[in-house]
């Protein structure tokens, strides 16, 4: 087994599917929202990981390392699909103005006080609510929000990946934040004290 001696013993591909499959799948599904695509991304991640085991430094845990690979695969997927689209997602999504503001540009339902918001973070239900509020965002808003705020990519990188102008991106993010805030206020901060 001398050929395998440079592979850290902690890397154990046989058990990856059972140990990390679900976690990676949840990550992928939260990003692409399509079961088949999410499964493909997870499988591609495992295959890529096997081929680049030497890239594993041993200073990150296996799941962190695999998630990093999956993240790159997911970004590539977005990059490809945003360029394959004949028409951008943007205009229709940005168009729905809802009733968040009235015709004078004043708040339709003004931000109210959020009681002890930081205590919410301790509750599992809060994160489920957060996920649910994210998942009902229109697709382009959801993608831009996740890349910008979950992944922490800068605006230029997100605009490049989604193939939109910076101006469009700023508008989408602004809409996404309005909707997300409104959703949390409606479904969490009212009634959860």
């Amino acid at each position: 087994m001398t050929g395998a001696s440079n592979i850290p013993t902690s890397l154990n591909p046989e058990v990856w599917v059972d140990t990390y499959g679900d976690s990676l799948y949840r990550y992928a599904l939260s990003r692409v929202r399509n079961v088949a695509v999410a499964e493909d991304l997870v499988q591609e991640t495992f295959l890529a990981a096997i081929q680049s085991q030497h890239g594993y430094q041993g200073n990150a845990n296996e799941l962190t390392w695999l998630t990093g690979i999956l993240r790159h695969k997911t970004l590539d997927f977005f990059r490809k699909s945003s360029r394959a689209k004949e028409q951008s997602l943007v205009p229709a999504d940005v168009d729905d103005r809802e009733s968040l503001f009235n015709s004078n540009g004043a708040w339709g339902s003004p931000p109210s006080n959020w009681s002890s918001p930081h205590e919410s973070l301790e509750k599992d239900e809060f994160w489920l609510q957060m996920q649910s509020c994210i998942s009902v965002l229109p697709e382009a808003m959801r993608q831009s929000y996740m890349l910008r705020e979950f992944d922490g990519l800068d605006s230029e990188a997100v605009a490049e990946i989604l193939n939109v102008t910076s101006n469009n991106l700023w508008v989408m993010l602004s809409r996404a934040r309005l909707k997300l805030r409104h959703c949390l206020q409606t479904h969490w901060f009212k009634g959860n004290k």
Partner: protein, 79 residues
């Protein structure tokens, strides 16, 4: 003067780009007098903090189907 919709938009954009001098001035002026927008601005910061902590891997109950897992195990075995 900005209205609340414009103020909310600038509050958001301030998180993504450097505002121009006149935008900053107009936003700060509006925030000085509008408690709703001030609140909105604070809640945006909260949302950012929350989002950075969100871990999709641990959230929700979605799992790979048994068939998908079996398919992957086979595929991995064959390299």
């Amino acid at each position: 003067m900005l209205n609340c919709e414009q103020s909310a938009s600038l509050s958001s954009q301030r998180m993504d780009r450097e505002l121009k001098f006149h935008e900053k001035a107009a936003l700060n002026m509006h925030l000085l007098f509008c408690r709703f927008c001030k609140k909105y601005n604070r809640q945006l910061q909260f949302l950012r903090g929350v989002s950075r902590q969100f871990d999709a891997r641990e959230s929700g109950h979605d799992c790979l189907s048994e068939e998908a897992k079996e398919r992957m195990r086979e595929r991995l075995k064959n390299g």
